[in-house]
Amino acid sequence: MLDFNILFPSVLNGITTGAVYALIALGLTLIYGVLHIINFAHGASLMVALYGVYMLKQHFGVDPYMALPIMVPAMFVLGYALQRGVINRASHGKDENILLVTLGLSIVLENLALLFFKSDTRTIETAYTLTTVQIGPAFIALPKLVSFAGALVVSAVLLLIVQKTDLGRAIRAVSKEKQGARLMGIDVDHVYAMCFGLGLASLGAAACFLMPAYYVNPQVGNGFVLVAFTIVVLGGMGSFAGALLGGLLIGVVESLGGLLLGESLGQVGIFVIFIAVLLLRPQGFFGAKA
């Protein structure tokens, strides 16, 4: 019924879409997986980064990939400032308040975008937007292949930071034992803010990889929030390799679901997987047993 020539492109397409999901989930696995902050502003932050890339291209002619050295530090600074200046200050460190504050933040960001850019959907044109590469019987858009490579690089960089640097050691210490880390002289607020900064910085990178083949409007982040949480839980909280594999898996599930069940019902697969994982294995498929 389903021959290789239909299945293979679908799987490949799922993998490249999944790479984009993984890119978005990588930042979240740091914020949610390590700090246990449910950041409902994650989608809105991605939207901000996408508009950033869009503006750089439209007003200064900066190629989206060339925008990486601008967007990554800019989003880092934004993340650091938001966590230190708003989220931490407003939430008093209580979980339910963090939920509310990040929710409020996403409402503010989304509607500021609506105010400045209206609700139009915007895209950018680059020389390579429509370039495709043939792999076996499949044609894959070049920007999607680049974002696949980007996801690999970003997860490697985050892994290196968390495993090899002093900051990484501090992050791991704070995630395991906040009070203990504080007693050891670690500035917990600073570590939280750095983590948030890194999370948003990887969104900045994600936006640069996404924009050539994607679009932006004020609501664009919404569709990604639950998918990103799914991937983080699926991959195991705080595991970058897990987020990468989880992202790819979700991409394939969505693609095959769409092929077998039709466009609208196909997405159900993602959430059914999510619920099953939450109920049966909340530490994630790739996560260590808690």
Binding site: I98, N111, L226, V233, S264, V268, L278
Partner: protein, 325 residues
């Protein structure tokens, strides 16, 4: 009891409003405020008293709404029969989700996420199956009469809504004073300690989810009767879940009047900003979001906590809460 006396006073005061005014703006305000109160109070039963933060209460809302519409349009039932049926179905969905989640010990952010995911599954299913009208939605035929629960004036809807809010308030008052309510709050505050003194956390949380789901289903049914239309986005979209939990948290969780205060204040705020800045798309919601953050910042116990918090403390932002997470 004092709580029930206050509830009776509230019913008399609000119930009399339609007798003294026929201003459409005023009546509409009372009706939509009561509706927002029901959402928040429904969430409060599980979130405030039970400490289980649902992020997908739209799940129960949408179930109630669809049952209300389908019972009338496809089963030919009277809306007065459909309403309790909608509550039962929503409570049933609550039982299912609660049993699944609590059986596997989900709590905190995991519970928030699983409810959100369930709502999303229902939204996608409602978009895909034929008996919900798929993406097009269901439109109730217009047959204005009290027997059809389609009132000519807002007064009928207000009294109906007031009845449902009163039910929610009575359940909340019962939670404050009953043995079951004490069990529920004990489980919220320390599940292990509650278990140690013989409370069964699973069944206590399950019952709270059923009650909460049923009340939310009533809100969904009411929505259908007023707007005579429902589609998957309205029914299961995140907006209703957010409205329910924000009202309860901003007003004061685990209190009798907090969710009501929260829902009404946020409602007034939304109306006010829409009227002031309606010509600029988005700016009203920006202000709403900022106020939400500011409220969380300065009123950690919600509006109902105002009386118990000394002014200096909330200017400093009560440092003692800082390390609880």
């Amino acid at each position: 009891m004092k709580d029930f006396r206050n509830i009776a006073l509230f019913v008399v005061l609000v119930g009399a409003v339609p007798l003294f005014t026929d201003s459409g703006v005023m009546l509409n305000f009372v009706m939509t405020s009561l509706y927002a109160c029901l959402l928040s109070q429904a969430w409060n039963v599980l979130g405030g008293f039970g400490g289980q933060f649902s992020f997908g209460h739209a799940l129960f809302f949408g179930t109630g709404a669809y049952v209300q519409a389908i019972a009338q349009m496809q089963w030919g039932l009277s809306p007065w029969v459909a309403l309790p049926l909608a509550m039962v179905f929503a409570a049933g969905v609550g039982a299912f989700v609660g049993a699944a989640s609590f059986r596997y010990g989900l709590k905190g952010s995991y519970f928030a996420l699983v409810t959100l995911a369930f709502a999303e599954v229902f939204r996608i299913l409602a978009t895909s199956v034929p008996f919900t009208g798929a993406g097009v939605g269901l439109m109730l035929p217009l047959k204005e009469s009290a027997a059809n629960m389609q009132f000519g004036s807002r007064a009928g809807f207000i009294w109906l809504m007031l009845g449902l809010v009163t039910l929610a308030l009575c359940i909340t008052a019962w939670l404050r004073h009953s043995r079951f309510g004490a069990y529920l709050q004990a489980v919220r505050d320390n599940e292990d300690a509650a278990r140690a003194i013989g409370v069964n956390p699973f069944s206590v949380k399950l019952i709270a989810t059923i009650l909460s789901g049923g009340l939310m289903g009533a809100a969904g049914a009411f929505y259908v009767q007023v707007f005579q239309y429902i589609d998957p986005g309205i029914a299961f979209g995140a907006h209703t879940s957010v409205e329910a939990l924000v009202g309860a948290i901003v007003g004061g969780m685990g209190t009798l009047w907090g969710p009501l205060l929260g829902a009404v204040s946020l409602h007034i705020l939304a109306d006010l900003t829409r009227n002031l800045f309606g010509q600029l798309p988005g700016i009203n919601m920006v202000i709403y979001g900022v106020v939400l953050i500011v409220i969380v910042m300065f009123l950690p116990r919600g509006i109902a906590g105002l009386g118990t918090t000394r002014p200096l403390q909330w200017l400093r932002g009560s440092k003692s809460d800082g390390d609880k997470s």
